[in-house]
């Protein structure tokens, strides 16, 4: 039995499955983004370019590893590893193959929120450890940005929890199934705010301020090469998957089987939809400036998020 659980953790629906899905979504994102711009996107690496993220990953693994002299060697080693493992570990708390996640406990939603905060902290460390000006600016921007979206995000994410009277993602998924309803239908405002905050969390346009290529090269990642960069990219892809899974679970019913369709398939369809919305939206905007972004978040998003909380309270109370 233990081997079965280990297998679950490592292969399906655990690490391996998550990594494959993460790579697939990177491809979906690049492809859709390219199509919006009237291009093909990756085309020749694997059928329709589907192996592109894998090729990128393998290539980076095979590249020379450069450690800048000025940087903190220990941190420089630890940061990429943490950046890749944290979202992977958090994914175990997402219901993927069944409405019940591999690891589910009351309060895992809080842990997930904490993980998002941690990701930003790691980014900050990454920029700081590489002792380069661009990286430092990138990481400071990243931290500033986090301060502005974390609070509205936390506010709206507890709304489904209040409605379902459960602080566990699995619990919220099951509550939606039991009541034959969707979070999105009950809390459309919450969904919208979550999407905006998560765009910021993922550092996508219009909030890709910490990575603004034309301003600060590649932001906090500027100095990383080889396997470190590969792990960053993997961690990034996993983060996208995590975010998509979170939206799918809290608002779209998550991994519930529908008639004959297994839960996993529903999960994949829903997360893919979320990823596609993200990549479509990021094609439509110009990048904001950090001060504009922060003031916008505080001025508009926070009140809306608060409004959503009040609405949910009223709904639950009645």
């Amino acid at each position: 039995m233990v081997t079965y659980e280990v297998l679950q953790l490592i292969v399906f629906p655990g690490a391996l499955f998550a990594i494959c899905l993460a790579f697939l979504y990177e491809w979906v994102d690049r492809k859709l983004f390219a199509r919006v711009q009237g291009r093909y996107g990756p085309l020749y690496t694997g059928p329709a370019g589907i192996m592109q993220p894998v090729a990128d990953f393998l290539k980076l693994l095979s590249k020379e590893d450069i450690v800048p002299r000025a940087c903190d060697a220990n941190l420089f080693f630890a940061v990429p590893v943490m950046y890749a493992t944290l979202p992977l570990a958090t994914l175990f708390m997402m219901p993927i193959a069944a409405p019940e996640a591999l690891i589910a406990f009351d309060g895992d939603l809080i842990f997930i929120l904490f993980a998002f905060g941690m990701m930003t902290l790691i980014i900050f460390l990454a920029g700081w450890s590489s002792a380069s000006r661009f990286s430092a600016i990138g990481s400071v921007r990243s931290a500033l940005q986090m301060l502005s979206y974390e609070i509205p995000l936390g506010l709206v994410l507890v709304c489904p929890a209040i409605a379902a009277k459960s602080l566990s993602v699995s619990g919220i998924v099951q509550w939606q199934a039991a009541n034959a309803t969707l979070g999105a239908a009950l809390q459309p405002i919450g969904l919208a705010v979550t999407m905006v905050c998560l765009l910021a969390e993922l550092e996508l346009v219009p909030f890709d301020i910490p990575e603004a290529e034309t301003e600060i090269v590649a932001g906090w990642r500027t100095e990383f090469t080889g396997w470190r960069l590969a792990l960053f990219r993997l961690g990034r892809d996993l983060e996208v998957l995590l975010v998509a899974a979170l939206v799918a679970s809290l608002y779209l019913g998550g991994a519930q089987p529908l008639w004959l369709i297994p839960a996993t398939a529903m999960f994949v369809v829903k997360t893919a939809a979320v990823v596609m919305v993200f990549s479509f939206v990021r094609a439509l905007f110009a990048r904001l400036r950090i001060d504009q972004m922060i003031s916008g978040m505080w001025k508009y998003l926070l009140p809306i998020a608060a409004l959503q909380v009040v609405l949910v309270q009223i709904g639950v109370g009645v």
């Binding site: 711009q37 291009r39 000006r133 400071v140 890709d208 301020i209 603004a212 090269v217 990048r287 400036r289």
Partner: protein, 382 residues
């Protein structure tokens, strides 16, 4: 780190926001720029010397390579100067063809620029669309001249290739398509809130400063001053063309964008007019090898502003002195003025705002700020 009292931040020579190698040293106070030291000269190739050492015919190809974006402007300016020295009159048909080429170049250059400014603002989709549509102009170039970017069409005494009636129809047809696209850009840049947020009130250049610091081209016209060599000092066939000089009172990056987009509409009008009224006849006359002694100043409105060449001949087959002053250099003092007191994140978009093309600027510039002291003169007024 990075946020101490004043830090120095280098920008370039290899930097994704600059497709060309230039170096700016910014002095930052927190997130605000308090000083700028441009350090140019990375693209200095020594063209002026080379021009003086090559024959008039060979020099044409060097003039063309002062810059790959306004090649027509530079070759127009060059041929105009040398033709004046040689005392040859270009046939009217050649003048019309040069006019059409100049305006096509303005279209391609401005749409390239719309794409770039969008790119600097992180608006990649608009960048892709603008560059996709620009390809229509490049294929026209290719059909007319045989080259997409360097056209080698202007020559001493006229142009090397004619525009046939079929080609003229093709140009009209492309103009039809392009007009629609330009209207679309105009709508997008005026309504996209994130883009407006990044360009409105950014990089302000007051009209009095623009005039005093001698800004040129859309940078000047974006500050509400209507000056355009095409109208004020008409060359080739511009004295026969009806068009408006566009200006905008915004004085910011958005105003400069607007000026360029509106100019594209005017250019389309000029091309149509010129195609309809193209005089018949030869399009090239023979140019002599040598030019009698003399000197002349030749001016052209390049897409980025006034371009000036000065030529002096001594009766031989090579110019005695050839001097080029391209638009970007003229805009540098104004640029430095705009860059002081702004937010770091706005640097790329302001730089892009003047449409800096350093390859022509460095052709001559040797302004290199020294380590501590050297800044451009404009710093003095700040």
């Amino acid at each position: 780190m990075g946020y101490a009292s004043t830090v120095k931040m280098p920008f370039g020579p290899q930097h994704p926001a600059l497709k060309e190698p230039e170096h700016f040293l910014f002095e930052l106070d927190g997130d605000t720029v308090v000083g700028v030291t441009p350090r140019i000269g990375y693209v200095h190739r020594g063209i002026e010397k080379a021009l003086e050492l090559s024959t008039y015919g060979h020099g044409l190809y060097l003039a063309e390579r002062i810059c790959g974006i306004c090649t027509v402007a530079h070759t127009c300016c060059y041929t105009q100067a040398i033709e004046e020295l040689m005392g040859i009159e270009v046939p009217p048909r050649a003048k019309y063809i040069r006019t059409i080429m100049s305006e096509l170049e303005r279209l391609h250059s401005h749409s390239l620029w719309v794409g770039l400014v969008a790119h600097e603002a992180g608006f990649d989709t608009l960048f892709m669309y603008a560059w996709r549509d620009r390809e229509a102009i490049l294929s026209l170039f290719q059909e007319i001249t045989g080259g997409r970017v360097l056209h080698a069409i202007n020559t001493l005494g006229g142009v090397r290739r004619d525009i046939s009636p079929e080609l003229a129809d093709k140009i009209r047809c492309t103009m039809e398509y392009f007009e629609g696209r330009v209207k679309d850009y105009r709508r997008i840049i005026r309504t996209e809130p994130t883009f407006l947020k990044r360009t409105r009130d950014v990089g302000v250049l007051k009209p009095s400063d623009a005039a005093k610091l001698d800004a040129v081209g859309p940078t000047l016209r974006g500050s509400g001053i209507k000056e355009d060599v095409r109208r004020d000092d008409p060359y080739i066939a511009y004295d026969e063309m009806p068009f408006n000089v566009i200006s905008s009172d915004g004085c910011d990056v958005f105003a400069r964008t607007e000026v360029r987009v509106e100019e594209m509409m005017e250019s389309i009008g000029i091309i149509r007019y010129a195609l309809d009224r193209m005089p018949a006849g030869v399009f090239r006359v023979r140019a002599p090898r040598n030019a009698p002694a003399g000197e002349c100043v030749s001016r052209v409105e390049a897409p980025r502003g006034e371009d000036m060449h000065f030529a002096r001949s001594d009766g031989t087959a090579k110019p005695e002195r050839y001097k080029v002053r391209a638009p970007t250099l003229a805009n540098i003092p104004a640029l430095c003025r705009m860059l002081v007191g702004i937010h770091v994140a706005d640097i790329p978009i302001i730089l892009a705002g003047i449409d800096p093309c350093f390859s022509c600027m460095d052709r001559m510039v040797v302004v290199r700020g020294g380590r501590a002291s050297g800044t451009l003169q404009s710093k003095r007024d700040v």
